[in-house]
């Protein structure tokens, strides 16, 4: 018998070793990676140009004439040329030598003014082009922001919805049905939370007409005490700082 037992020692050790290896491999290998759900914002497929062009034409005429004319120093030369042409014809008739000089001077001045004017015009055009380009960029940015905001809002809403569902389930789970509860009863509660999720106050906004039912809903919320709320403060402030809870446990009432 001792001999027979001795025969089993090595096999037993080998068997245990195999199982230990298998268990180790299993514990090491069986680690399903936590699946992180990436919220992919939808790519903007909207036809940007079609949306932008009417906007650009709308915005273009407004800012260009006004701001360009008033603040730009380039505009001042415009009224100046008026007095100039008047004296010009007169000296033209008198071909006096010193006046030629003056006329040349004036001509030069005129030329200069014209040049200035042309330059101003070019500048204005340039500015105008810049302006319209910037406007277009602004518009595009605004639109992108708008779309991003919209998708952000959608993601937020989905997150908020899941939290709201959790809150509702927590309340239903802690609710004890009063005997007088009937199908179709509903009560709207105003719940105030602090960022930790602790209930600060519960008040009845819209009663069901049945005091016991109202109280049971109120005490269910108080019994939960602390809800699971989003950690992002923005989301919390927007949806959970103060929210109404429509308590309508149809599925529980028979």
């Amino acid at each position: 018998m001792v001999f027979a037992l001795r025969m089993y020692i090595l096999p037993l050790l080998l068997a245990v070793a195999i199982h230990a290896l298998a268990a180790l491999a299993l514990v090491r290998g069986f680690n399903p990676e936590a699946i992180t759900t990436k919220v992919i914002k939808p790519q903007i497929v909207q036809s940007k140009l079609i949306v932008l062009e009417p906007k650009r034409s709308k915005t273009k005429p407004k800012p260009i004439p006004k701001p360009m004319l008033t603040p730009a120093p380039v505009v001042q030369p415009k009224p100046e040329p008026k007095p100039l042409p008047k004296p010009e014809p007169k000296p033209k008739a008198e071909p006096a030598k010193p006046k030629v000089d003056a006329a040349a001077k004036r001509k030069a001045a005129l030329k200069k003014k014209q040049e200035q004017e042309a330059q101003a015009k070019a500048e204005r055009l340039q500015a105008l082009a810049d302006q319209s380009f910037m406007d277009a960029l602004d518009d595009e940015q605004a639109m992108l922001d708008e779309v991003a905001d919209a998708s952000d809002a959608a993601v937020d809403a989905a997150a908020a919805q899941s939290f709201r569902m959790g809150i509702y389930q927590a309340v239903v789970g802690n609710w004890s049905r009063p005997p007088s509860a009937r199908q179709g009863m509903q009560v709207t509660l105003l719940v105030e939370l602090v960022p930790t999720g602790d209930v600060v106050s519960v008040s009845i906004v819209d009663s069901s007409g049945n005091g016991a039912f109202d109280r049971s809903a109120q005490s269910a919320v108080n019994k939960v005490g602390q809800f699971v709320v989003p950690t992002e403060s923005e989301l919390f402030e927007r949806h959970f700082r103060k929210f109404t809870l429509l308590f309508k446990p149809e599925d529980l009432l028979r």
Binding site: M7, L10, P11, L14, A15, I18, P32, A34, L252
Partner: protein
């Protein structure tokens, strides 16, 4: 609601019955692997011994010398003990002056047959256990799984909002039982098939040897008048 489920957590969090089933299966797996190794070593050793003994036997050695050599040995392997039993019976019968050859041969045949049966039993020991583990542990594991899934669905019935997350851990932990059942069963079935085939081969060799040995003794018994001891096999 843990994000990451490890097998260990699944096992620890399983219900009591499922845990019992898992423990049973783990035990069955360890024991069946032990049996597999033990059978493996044992059958290897027996096959080596049979080779050695047959070589020795057919090398022209005197049978009485061989008998004397083996008789004192403590642990005789199958084929050796068969030879010893047969030869011992033959010597005893042959010592009686009035025993006729047929009576001697009947006694020798009985003795070798008994030893052959006992040796078959030794070769096949623990194989029934492997067969049992191989055929039942999948069912045992399945039982654990069905029980676990039953429980997790019953828990689902009490919930207002049925989500996959509320049943998935239960089903996962229940399926661990099936996995363990298969883990225990597959090596056991393979081991059983392999070893029973090897036992069959060994038994064929035993039988062939015992037939040859008996025919040698038969020849010796019928020529007993001339010399009282059988000579070396030719």
């Amino acid at each position: 609601m843990s994000e990451q489920l490890s097998v260990w957590e699944l096992v620890v969090n399983a219900s009591l019955l499922v845990q019992v089933v898992m423990g049973l299966l783990a035990l069955a797996s360890v024991v069946s692997w032990m049996m597999i190794f033990q059978r493996w070593f044992f059958l290897n050793r027996v096959a080596r011994n049979v080779d050695e003994f047959e070589d020795h036997f057919w090398s022209g050695i005197d049978l009485r010398a061989l008998y004397n050599e083996l008789d004192g040995k403590d642990d005789l392997t199958g084929i050796e003990s068969m030879f010893v039993a047969g030869f011992k019976e033959y010597s005893r019968m042959a010592e009686q002056p009035n025993a006729d050859a047929d009576a001697i041969m009947q006694a020798v045949q009985r003795a070798t047959r008994v030893t052959l049966n006992r040796e078959e039993g030794r070769l096949e020991a623990t194989l029934p256990f492997l067969a049992t583990v191989g055929s039942t542990s999948p069912y045992v594991g399945l039982f654990g799984t069905v029980w676990g899934i039953m429980n997790s669905f019953r828990g689902l019935a009490n919930m207002t909002q049925a989500t996959l997350a509320s049943v998935a851990p239960g089903i996962s932990e229940a399926l661990v039982a099936t996995a363990m059942g298969l883990f225990a069963a597959i090596p056991a079935v393979i081991g059983y098939n392999r070893f029973s085939a090897r036992v069959e081969v060994l038994m064929k060799r035993y039988e062939a040897f015992s037939d040859e040995f008996i025919s040698i003794l038969h020849r010796a018994a019928h020529s007993r008048g001339k010399s009282n001891t059988p000579g070396s096999p030719q």
